[in-house]
């Protein structure tokens, strides 16, 4: 299931190769808090550095094809640059999708995924994607969909459908996708 997050491995913590009893007192991750020790028989200082070995692998299981047939019938809604208002043409798409949600997909929840073009990875871009999703949500509620069936997420610029460096491509990425959840 796509929405089930699995932590598949938490591995190999805090290893310092060649650890002596002296090393064991050193925090294994932090190399900024260095340990200074006088060099035997000289004026030089000794500084020991260590690193981290934490690796967490997260992923999704492969059961994301279940609802794909229904989802494929729901077109994405596209937006103008830096805007989250819905054009009449896009309103028709929302209305059509709402009909599907009320009929064939009536047993599912809807997840609205807001997306932006590549011009910025900052929070504002994510907020813009969210405002787009929220505009679609409001429209679906007006179409008679219960608000409790709708969730939203913004992916900002991180989930493009097109990666070319063209204005046409960027326009494709300024969109809200419709996903179904059980």
């Amino acid at each position: 299931m796509k929405n089930v997050l699995m932590v598949s491995a938490v591995a190999a913590l805090l290893v310092l190769s060649g650890c002596s009893s002296k090393d064991s007192s050193i925090e294994p991750y932090d190399n900024s808090g260095v340990t200074i020790q006088p060099e035997t028989g000289g004026n030089a200082n000794t500084e020991e550095l260590s690193g981290e070995d934490v690796v967490v692998i997260e992923g999704t299981d492969a059961n994301e094809m279940t609802l794909s047939a229904l989802e494929s019938r729901m077109k994405s809604v596209h937006f103008a640059f830096d805007k989250f208002s819905i054009s009449p043409e896009m309103q028709d798409i929302i209305d059509t999708n709402s009909q599907l949600v009320k009929s064939d997909a009536k047993n599912y929840s809807v997840k609205l995924e807001g997306n932006c073009d590549e011009w910025g990875s900052d929070e504002y871009n994510y907020a813009l994607g969210l405002k787009r999703a929220n505009a679609v949500k409001s429209s679906m509620i007006r179409d008679g969909i219960d608000a409790t069936r709708i969730t939203m997420v913004s992916y900002g610029e991180s989930n493009p459908t097109c990666t070319d460096k063209t204005e046409a491509c960027w326009a494709q990425n300024r969109r809200v996708d419709f996903k179904l959840l059980p």
Binding site: V55, A133, T151
Partner: protein, 416 residues
């Protein structure tokens, strides 16, 4: 007359300390520095890389004219070689392994034929050698009495997009020479160090049903769920003591800024505008700076934590969509072009609440995600230019910028 001279001198003094004023230093006024490699037996590629790291770090210090030639000398000599005798300073190092298998770096810093500093650095792993280079640079900077460069020894944490809807969170040194991927798979973004000691970081997981903020403890490798929010959830800033977070949340589809107490788990909504309020940053005097589109386009505003009105901070730029604050200073990303899709579009600017000056910090490419160092004299940022994503470092007092490219992927966000 005496008063006039006094005011003039005072103005000069204040100007010299104002980071919004650009100070141009000539490179030829710096002392010359040669670097001598006294390594006798060590892996060649690691040794070569270490030399590059040392040269890079000494350049970033902006204290010396650094000679890039790879000089060889005996470590035990207490004077410079014939080749390097004409240099003002000589940095000599030797890499080797001790009997227990630890990697040891001996370092001497010479001036006028005498040893100014000698130190030994030890570590267990070869990939940490770059941090020894940073430590050596830090120590020499300290010896020279220059502005502290604590940020050099800190780690950066960043998210990079590896493919649509997939990312990795990586811990690295500021030059990206050392990289350790902490979280792989799914879409995890906006990592933010949880404390000054860099023992944990917050990040947003977007792979589940609902955006979730986690705290990843690097010592134990465990993550703790901090908060969830429909729509979006970002940890924008952490207070100096690590107790308060500024979050962007949208529990009802409306992105606003919240103050989160990590001890009581209580949230307080700080903004209520029906448009976009994001990117809260702690400032001086119990205030926050943030990005809002309340004028119809994204711009930088401030307000007090305990209420009160909102003040516009920036009056320049058509679209100012990201900021970072340190005391009275704010650095922000601005779109200057009339055409939003021109190449030279997004630049970073620095302002102070105490002056009217605006200092432009970048000139080419898409420059974004600025982050002040803890001391406020250096800015870390992301530059995307000609299909290349890089980490940038701006040294404000020295008026210098340095870029360190990411080989694979695109940087999404960064913190140090």
């Amino acid at each position: 007359m005496r008063h006039l001279i006094g005011i003039f001198l005072m103005t000069l003094l204040l100007s010299a300390n104002d980071a919004t004023i650009e100070v141009v230093k000539k490179a030829d006024s710096f002392a010359s520095l040669a670097i001598e490699d006294a390594t006798e037996s060590f892996e060649t590629s690691a040794s070569r890389q270490f030399f590059k790291n040392i040269v890079s770090d000494m350049n970033v210090l902006s204290l010396f004219n650094v000679e890039r030639k790879h000089y060889i000398n005996n470590y035990e000599d207490n004077s410079a070689s014939l080749e390097t005798r004409s240099f003002d300073y000589v940095l000599r190092y030797r890499l080797h392994k001790d009997d227990s298998g630890m990697i040891v770096v001996n370092m001497k810093f010479l001036h006028n034929e005498s040893v100014m500093m000698e130190k030994v650095y030890k570590m267990s792993k070869k990939n940490l050698l770059v941090f020894v280079a940073h430590s050596i640079a830090y120590d020499i900077n300290d010896l020279m009495g220059a502005t502290p460069v604590d940020w050099m020894k800190k780690k950066v944490v960043f998210a990079k997009l590896t493919s649509p809807g997939r990312s990795e969170i990586v811990i690295a040194d500021y030059t990206l020479t050392y990289q350790h991927t902490i979280i792989k798979g799914a879409l995890n973004v906006f990592p933010q160090w949880a404390d000054k000691d860099q023992r944990a970081f917050y990040y947003t997981a977007l792979g589940g049903d609902i955006p979730t903020l986690y705290k990843m403890d690097l010592k134990t490798g465990t993550k703790i769920k901090i908060a969830t929010s429909d729509g979006m959830l970002v940890c924008s800033d952490v207070s100096d003591d690590g107790r308060k977070l500024l979050l962007t949340m949208a529990p009802s589809g409306q992105p606003d800024i919240y103050l989160f107490d990590t001890q009581t788990q209580q949230k307080k909504r700080l903004t209520t505008y029906r448009g976009i309020d994001v990117n809260g940053q702690f400032m001086e005097n119990n205030k926050i700076a943030f990005v809002s589109n309340r004028l119809g386009y994204p711009n930088i505003f401030s307000k007090k934590l305990n209420g009160g009105g909102v003040e516009q901070m920036v009056y320049y730029g058509r679209s100012n969509a990201a900021c970072s604050a340190h005391n009275e200073y704010v650095v922000y990303k601005s779109r200057e072009s009339q055409n939003e899709f021109e190449r030279n579009t997004f630049n970073l600017h620095l302002i102070s609440t105490k002056t009217d000056f605006i200092r432009r910090l970048t000139a080419t490419g898409v420059n974004e995600y600025p982050r002040f160092s803890a001391s406020g004299d250096t800015i870390l940022f992301i530059k995307n230019y000609q299909q290349q994503s890089s980490v940038g470092v701006i040294r404000l007092q020295e008026n210098k910028s340095f870029l360190f490219p990411l080989k694979i992927g695109k940087l999404q966000s960064i913190d140090w």
